[in-house]
């Protein structure tokens, strides 16, 4: 930070903006919760929340919507981090919801869409009024249109044509009973900003973000790990490759990318040079249609 010129670096500016958002929610909304998946964006959010309320602990719990399709490294990381911070962890379990009959397994085995009712049930049960999410506008074109404070009706639905205008740093968090706000403090961050921040703050992330050897097979031009959630079909052969994950989602449909980047510095160089977006390169769920994300969000998705 160059104090003499009274000018903040882009990372300091993004941090100041996110901290402001965290504090605004804590001040105005009664029962916030931070959605924590163990992915890099939610890990950065945890750090920002920690900073926003320091030296007091962050005044809200964290929630994991657990699809049951987890990378073991990510689950271990989640539990370790939560223990370090001493925050409460709420787990909304999709397998549990399937057992109870709240949702039914989809024919293709993906639990991406059926997460939504499980999330909404937990919101209702715990009466959460604000949910912090790590979504960024550079990720996806529907997200590029979403507000920092994204109003959701009592069904958790997003109405893209009816969003509250957002001016200056003034956020409107007023809601009626049953309604909620999804809050995206990282709205203006890019994938590269997140990694620069991870580097600057020396933040630990799950090992699968760095290059490692893994048994994979190719499907739709993407590399999927051969694991209990995702087996090769006929004609798909497995092989060992040096890969890393650019995003961490449902283990049954998140693909790895070929990479030798085994340090933060190398990951940053790799992302700076890549010609593919992170979701385009790694997410089976976005390939359904042009508006897959918008449609899921309208149903109450993150």
């Amino acid at each position: 930070m160059t104090i003499h010129e009274y000018q903040l670096s882009q990372l300091d500016l993004l941090e100041a903006e996110a901290v402001h958002v965290f504090r605004e929610v804590a001040a105005e909304l009664e029962r916030p919760v931070l959605l924590f998946s163990g992915g890099k964006d939610s890990i950065v959010m945890l750090r920002l929340a920690e900073k926003a309320f320091w030296p007091a602990p962050m005044p809200f719990p964290v929630m994991h919507v657990d699809t049951g399709h987890n990378f073991p490294e990510v689950l271990e990381f989640r539990d370790r981090r939560v223990a370090e911070l001493g925050v409460n962890l709420v787990v909304a379990s999709v397998p549990d919801a399937i057992e109870r009959g709240l949702v039914a397994e989809e024919p293709n085995g993906s639990r991406n869409r059926i997460q939504t009712p499980v999330l909404l049930e937990a919101v209702e049960k715990h009466r959460f009024t604000a949910l912090f999410g790590g979504a960024r506008r550079d990720e996806e074109k529907a997200r590029a249109k979403e507000r920092v404070f994204s109003f959701r009706d009592d069904f958790g639905q997003w109405d893209p044509k009816n969003q509250r205008p957002e001016l200056w740093n003034l956020y409107n968090g007023r809601i009626h009973l049953g309604e909620s706000i999804r809050v995206f403090p990282l709205s203006n961050w890019t994938e590269l900003d997140v990694w620069h921040y991870i580097q600057r703050e020396q933040i630990a992330v799950p090992s699968i973000y760095y290059a490692h050897e893994r048994e994979v097979f190719e499907r739709d031009g993407m590399l999927f790990a051969n694991n209990e959630f995702c087996r090769p079909r006929e004609g798909e052969t497995t092989f060992t490759a040096t890969v890393r994950y650019r995003t961490v989602g449902d283990a049954s449909l998140t693909a790895a990318v070929r990479s030798d980047a085994d340090t933060v510095e190398k990951v940053i160089d790799e992302i700076a040079a890549t010609r593919l977006t992170e979701r385009g390169a790694t997410r089976g769920d976005d390939r359904v249609s042009e508006a897959a994300m918008e449609d899921r969000k309208k149903e109450g998705y993150f």
């Binding site: 903040l8 249109k145 003034l170 385009g280 042009e290």
Partner: protein, 416 residues
């Protein structure tokens, strides 16, 4: 590396999407899979060329109707700066979206078509940029290729626009002749227009000086959140968190807390990364005071000899953003800095025709996308500055108390 936020105004016809597409493409911020997806959609629709507006028109309704409905944010970086583009729709019925995009912008680009010159829309865009006090305005005269790179045409438009801009009190105006389609004067200077001696558009975006745009004179620290750890080690700890809205705060400074008027000194300015000597906008910090006085969210820390108005009568330019009109007598919720109150619409002084700038003082209401001068009376005092002096302490939003929707944006012209 620092960050520049800019808003773009203009319609597809002016080549705005092509310009944004060009900036993103030339700075390698368009990815192969995004481009392929746009090409696919363009082909399916039978477009004659790849429609780059599909990159920013992210909503289903926008893609179907081929129009931009809402502000889209796009990101790119050069080795010098990171950029956030607020891409705002140009049509009059989306005035509120342009106002939204401009509210946080350091710079705005208004596009005109060199063949058409200044049109009604260009005047409206320039007016909104000045109303929102965007510090830097760029007029991009596009499609220079279609007027044979004519210096005469360019200078005619430049002259007409500059004289109009003087009336608007635009602090910094730069006029650039470009061809977004062919890339002339976008990244590097165009060989087709040797008579133009100014910078390319990207060069200007990279170098425009924004450090002094913020108010570094009037200390304004709206208290956002009181931090009181409930732990045994820190039983007496009490500090005030917030984002600096103006001036430079230093440890040891004598300060006044409004509205109470108590004075004390800053004991320390803290962050999770340790204490800092100075804090300025838009840093988010935590301030500890020397004396234990009653301070809560919505209060303002300032200097004893430089205070904002403590005011319940507020005159402001209001941009109305809802279908149901603003009428005198109406009660609304108001949010200004970290302070919330209720406000009564006392008077509508005039409605402004955003195209002609004519003031209609017979107007009885403000409809969707109308802008007018309004007098409000608030239930509790606001700690307010004129918007022209400070965008953070001079701006507010109005909220409908029944629907909770944000229905208006206000820029304070005077407060007492």
């Amino acid at each position: 590396m620092d960050l520049l936020r800019f808003a773009t105004a203009g319609s597809v016809d002016d080549g705005k999407s092509t310009l944004i597409g060009r900036l993103l493409y030339d700075s390698k911020a368009i990815f192969t899979d995004q481009l392929e997806s746009v090409e696919r959609t363009s082909q399916q629709r039978g477009d004659e060329y790849t429609d780059l507006s599909l990159l920013t028109d992210g909503l289903r309704a926008e893609r179907e109707q081929g129009i931009t409905i809402d502000v889209a944010y796009r990101y790119f970086a050069t080795p010098r700066r990171k950029f956030i583009i607020a891409d705002t729709p140009g049509h009059i019925q989306y005035t509120r979206n342009m106002v939204t995009g401009a509210s946080t912008a350091d710079l705005a680009i208004v596009l005109v078509d060199a063949r058409k010159g200044m049109v009604e829309q260009s005047r409206r865009h320039a007016f909104l940029v000045s109303l929102l006090r965007v510090p830097h305005l760029v007029l991009a005269v596009n499609k220079m290729d279609l007027v044979d790179w004519s210096q005469e045409v360019f200078e005619g438009i430049e002259k007409e626009f500059s004289s109009f801009a003087t009336k608007l009190d635009v602090p910094d105006l730069t006029v650039v002749p470009i061809s977004a389609l062919h890339g002339d004067n976008i990244v590097s200077r165009s060989p087709n227009m040797p008579w133009y001696e100014g910078p390319s558009l990207l060069h200007h975006l990279e170098h425009v000086h924004i450090a002094s745009d913020r108010n570094l004179v009037d200390v304004r620290f709206p208290v956002q959140y009181v931090i009181r750890p409930q732990s045994l080690q820190r039983t007496d700890y009490r500090a005030y968190a917030g984002q600096v809205a103006g001036g430079v705060l230093k440890a040891g400074d004598e300060v006044m807390v409004l509205p109470s008027g108590f004075t004390t000194r800053i004991a320390a300015i803290e962050t999770a990364d340790g204490p800092v000597g100075e804090a300025f906008a838009p840093m988010s910090v935590t301030v500890r005071l020397e004396d234990e006085i009653d301070v809560s969210r919505g209060d303002m820390i300032c200097r004893p000899h430089n205070q904002p108005a403590v005011a319940q009568d507020i005159d402001a330019m209001v941009c109305w953003m809802a279908e149901t009109p603003l009428v005198p007598g109406q009660k609304l919720a108001i949010k200004h800095t970290t302070r919330s109150a209720r406000a009564l619409v006392k008077e509508l002084q005039y409605r402004l025709d955003v195209n002609s700038l004519h003031r209609d003082d017979t107007a009885t209401q403000l409809g969707l996308n109308d802008i007018g001068r309004v007098r409000l009376r608030t239930t509790v005092p606001l700690l307010a500055d004129e918007y022209r002096r400070n965008r953070q302490t001079g701006g507010f939003i109005l909220i409908d108390e029944a629907t909770n929707r944000t229905v208006g944006a206000g820029m304070i012209t005077s407060a007492s």
